[in-house]
């Protein structure tokens, strides 16, 4: 001990120390009381606020997409369904080296090299735990291939998803349409809340027009999520207890179409290698029985997603397979309008049942040397109305047209639904065109073009010139002929079925204004002549109707694509394929109680009676039970 230092006074020192300890303890107590006060504030007074914040923190509402309604044909066969398919998916946050992974996937040809940059960009944007689809619908082979390699690709896996599938895709593509991935344009149009969980939407055809029925109502579920917004895996049951109830999605309604899958397949086969369209209707109801446009495409490509190359091939195909010819193809109807014009001529008194014209092979207007030629250069000789339809004499109609006048022609063709939309229950149809003086006045700028010329009436009488009609319109008009003026709006959806209750609401046939014809004899004559076209001694399509077990009626049409100069000889061989005439045919059967009306257009098919008529006949055979299959 340091003797020089003052003697330590242990008692006073201890007293000082104790007093300091007491003060310190007091301060310590105060500090702890401060913390306790804070805890009481947080846990007692503000508890409700923080409890709510904690709940909001962890609960995320996730939409659940409804299952899209199925589409069936008139016999209940599946046309569009939802199949589980395996997609190759990548979860960005689980991939260490995105470049390396994508290149190795490309080496296995699971993705395309050209898509690497795009996928990488996608993987860097958006939430890193959300799976990114690399390839839709792996084939069995690809699944097997990847399964072996899977350990080498952390963060990449195949996942089952429901994908729209069209088992007879090509045959029904233009009638049913297709679904495709939701685009930003779709999202502007659609209710984003209803589509929050949906990936695909109807783009064309029934899939688009009946989207609101097929889609269903989205549900939602509450997810327990962690701080990064990812659903918490594993057992969170004790946390789930306090959650609000989930809302189950309501599946979309099933749609029953009036089309017959057999007819679709047959028509597709008959039009194979052609450009053209076929529409068949039930004249008694307006139900569409067949609706085919050729060439077609595989709608599954849109549902699954296709590569840029595949889409480019579809887009750049000169035969434009994506173009719906049945609905939007506008063709000069040619001689197929002759039965309707015959009725116009009879009704307006431009001709009568017995009047004959001598057909010399051409027709000239007064004060003109221009020859309007008949399809038969040597002429048909003396023909009455019946003969003119049966043999498709042009000269007879040239002559009569001058008495009917273009405005009456327009009036009667309009009654048969030409020149205006049929109002079919899927969007996008073209109205076609039946010219009139009024139309010409309002449609042209140049005063010279606004005048109607007699010559234009002449060529309009054989469905040429300005006149245009869609295959759907021709089928509707044919059904009206078959029903002797009773008309129904064409429709493709026969019934809509609630997927949960199974209750079906049937589409009732919608009767349109009747076509009033004063004398039923006029109907008899025209329909009789159409019967003879196919089954008469001199009918243009007698080769097709010969020997049939039932009575049918029809009318051929061969429409010029390019005009032929006055003295030029018509030489089919020399014409380029795409400059050949369009072949058209309309028909219905059976004669007394029609059950089917068909319109066929074969682009550049040269001859309505030789090319289009057999197709129409085959469809009627099939539908009426006289087809190859039925005979067997």
């Amino acid at each position: 001990m340091d003797l020089l230092s003052p003697i330590k006074d242990h008692h006073s020192e201890r007293r000082l120390f104790v007093s300091r300890v007491l003060v310190s303890s007091l301060i310590a107590l105060l500090l702890l009381m401060l913390v306790v006060a804070r805890l009481v504030q947080l846990q007692v007074f503000d508890h409700a606020l923080f409890a709510e914040k904690a709940q909001g923190n962890r609960v995320r509402i996730e939409p659940v997409a409804p299952i899209r309604g199925l589409i069936f044909d008139r016999q209940g066969r599946v046309i569009a369904e939802n199949l589980p398919a395996y997609h190759l998916e990548l979860i960005p946050e689980q991939v260490d080296d995105i470049d390396d992974t994508l290149h190795r996937l490309a080496a296995l040809s699971l993705i395309e090299k050209t898509d690497i940059a795009r996928i990488k960009e996608l993987s860097l944007s958006g939430q890193r735990f959300r799976p990114l689809t690399l390839k839709f619908r792996l084939t069995e082979e690809e699944i097997a291939n990847f399964a072996i390699q899977r350990p080498r690709f952390p963060g990449v896996d195949f996942q089952p998803r429901l994908v729209r599938h069209y088992p007879n895709g090509e045959a029904v593509a233009h009638a049913v349409g297709y679904v495709g991935a939701l685009s930003s344009d779709d999202l502007k149009r659609l209710d984003s809340a209803r589509y929050a969980g949906t990936s695909h939407t109807g783009k064309t055809g029934v899939e688009s027009y009946f989207e609101s029925d097929l889609h269903g109502v989205a549900g939602y579920r509450h997810l327990i999520t962690n701080a990064r917004g990812r659903q918490v895996p594993g057992d969170t049951s004790e946390l789930l207890d306090s959650l609000p109830m989930d809302e189950r999605p309501a599946p979309g309604s099933n749609v029953y179409l009036s089309i017959d899958l057999d007819l679709q397949v047959l028509a597709t086969r008959l039009l194979e290698g052609r450009r053209g369209a076929l529409v068949a209707l039930d004249p008694q109801t307006g139900e569409i029985l067949a609706f085919v446009s050729a060439p077609s495409f595989d709608p599954n490509l849109f549902a699954v997603g296709m590569s840029t190359a595949q889409y480019g091939a579809l887009q750049n195909n000169p035969d434009v397979p994506l173009f719906n010819r049945a609905l939007r193809g506008s063709y000069p109807p040619g001689s197929t309008i002759k039965p309707m014009l015959a009725l116009a001529a009879l009704e307006t008194g431009a001709t009568n049942l017995t009047r004959k014209t001598f057909c010399t092979g051409y027709f000239m207007l007064p004060d003109s040397t221009h020859r309007y030629r008949d399809w038969k250069p040597e002429g048909h000789g003396p023909v009455d109305l019946h003969d003119a339809i049966e043999q498709s004499c042009d000269v007879y109609f040239y002559e009569v047209s001058q008495s009917i006048g273009i405005d009456n022609m327009h009036d009667y063709l309009d009654r048969f639904g030409l020149g205006r939309q049929t109002g079919v229950d899927f969007g996008g149809e073209r109205p076609g065109l039946v010219p009139s003086r009024e139309w010409k006045r309002t449609s042209f700028r140049n005063p010279d073009d606004q005048r109607w010329y007699h010559g234009e009436t002449v060529i309009a009488s054989i469905g040429q010139g300005y006149m245009l009609a869609t295959p759907l319109q021709l089928a509707t008009a044919t059904a009206a002929l078959a029903m002797r003026g009773k008309t129904y709006r064409p429709h493709i959806v026969a019934a809509i079925e609630d997927a949960l209750s199974g209750t079906r609401s049937l589409t009732t046939r919608e009767r349109m204004p009747d076509i009033e014809i004063s004398n039923s004899l006029h109907w008899d004559t025209v329909i009789g002549a159409m019967h003879d076209v196919m089954q008469g001694p001199r009918g243009t399509a007698r080769a097709v109707g010969y020997g049939a077990a039932y009575e049918m009626a029809g009318k051929s049409g061969t429409a010029q694509v390019v005009s032929i100069a006055q003295d030029e000889e018509y030489d089919e061989e020399e014409l380029q394929e795409r400059q050949r005439d369009h072949a058209l045919f309309i028909s219905f059967a059976p004669l007394d109680k029609p059950r089917i009306a068909v319109a066929v257009v074969v682009e550049n098919g040269s001859s309505g009676s030789r090319v289009a008529a057999p197709i129409a006949k085959a469809i009627m055979d099939k539908y009426l039970g006289y087809g190859d299959d039925a005979n067997r």
Partner: protein
Amino acid sequence: MPIAESKLPLTSKTEPRSDFSRLIRRLHIDGPLLGGLVLICGFGLFILYSAVGESNKLLMNQAVRLSIAFVAMLVAAQMPPDFLRRWTPWGYGAGIVLLVLVLITGEVGQGARRWLNLGVRFQPSEAMKLGVPMMAAWYLHDRQMPPRLGQLLIIAVMIVVPTILIARQPDLGTSLLIAASGIIVIILAGMSLRLIIGMGILAIPGAMVLWTVMKDYQKQRVLTLLNPDTDPLGAGYNIIQSKIAIGSGGLFGKGWTNGSQAHLEFLPERDTDFIFAVLGEEFGLFGVLTLLALYMFVIGRGLYMAVNAHDTYSRLLAGSISLTFLVYVFVNTAMVTGLIPVVGVPLPLVSFGGTSMVTLMAGFGILMSIHSQRKLLPH
């Protein structure tokens, strides 16, 4: 008369009756303090199990560290206070050398140079948590209390040198705690109240100087405390989520392992600095007050031991160890409840991590040694 003395009833009254009590006394262990510490550590393990996501592996890890810490306590309890006092300057000097070595050759982890690898990896700054108050107490042991100004300045140097060395690592939290442990010694020694108040006033320009030398992340912590909502996803996130966790716990909590804030990863650093929020969320105010009461008991027992110590060194050291422990508890709980900035101080004996626990328990061992091996008071 040693024989007669041993028969005195006084001794038999204080003589422990059971074998266990005798063993405790022979090992210089203080029963009440040990009981309090065991309860805190046991409760801590319970909370930690939930905070680490119910991982048995991490729980075992912590249990092993706790065992090591209790061994350190046991060893420290066997060292007589005189022995500790004699070796204090040597230990302190070695500690300063090691701190300098850390700055020169230390291992870098998480942006700071704190570890030294001399065969075993350790943080010299941890040892200085005991080294500084011991050194201050050693210096004041033979001197007349209250200390004079010149003596205070010498002690101030003893405190400031390691504080600055540790702050340079940088480890602001530890350096401040070490400074506090030294300052507590001189306050307990009887430093005049006028000086304390005067220093408090001087602290204001001092804080301004400190602000200019602070690193950006340290400044950010202070600013965030003042208004955490301005940066809800950045620096304020911890405090916001911690307050939500504690507040949503309410009176009785959401139940063990049922805290949504903790288990859904909203609460950051939930097994280390913010484990108090897990306790608040799952056990509510009730659980939080229970733990605080245990802490109070331990601190109270420590101060009781300090008051009953028989020499200046023991007294000052025991008082400093007890009150520094209180500073730990206060800083952590105040930080987690958003009262003070986030300074990275773990909740003592509960947070996951070993080094600080060993130091703490060694400190309690010293307390026990002081209490059980006290000499007779010189009259």
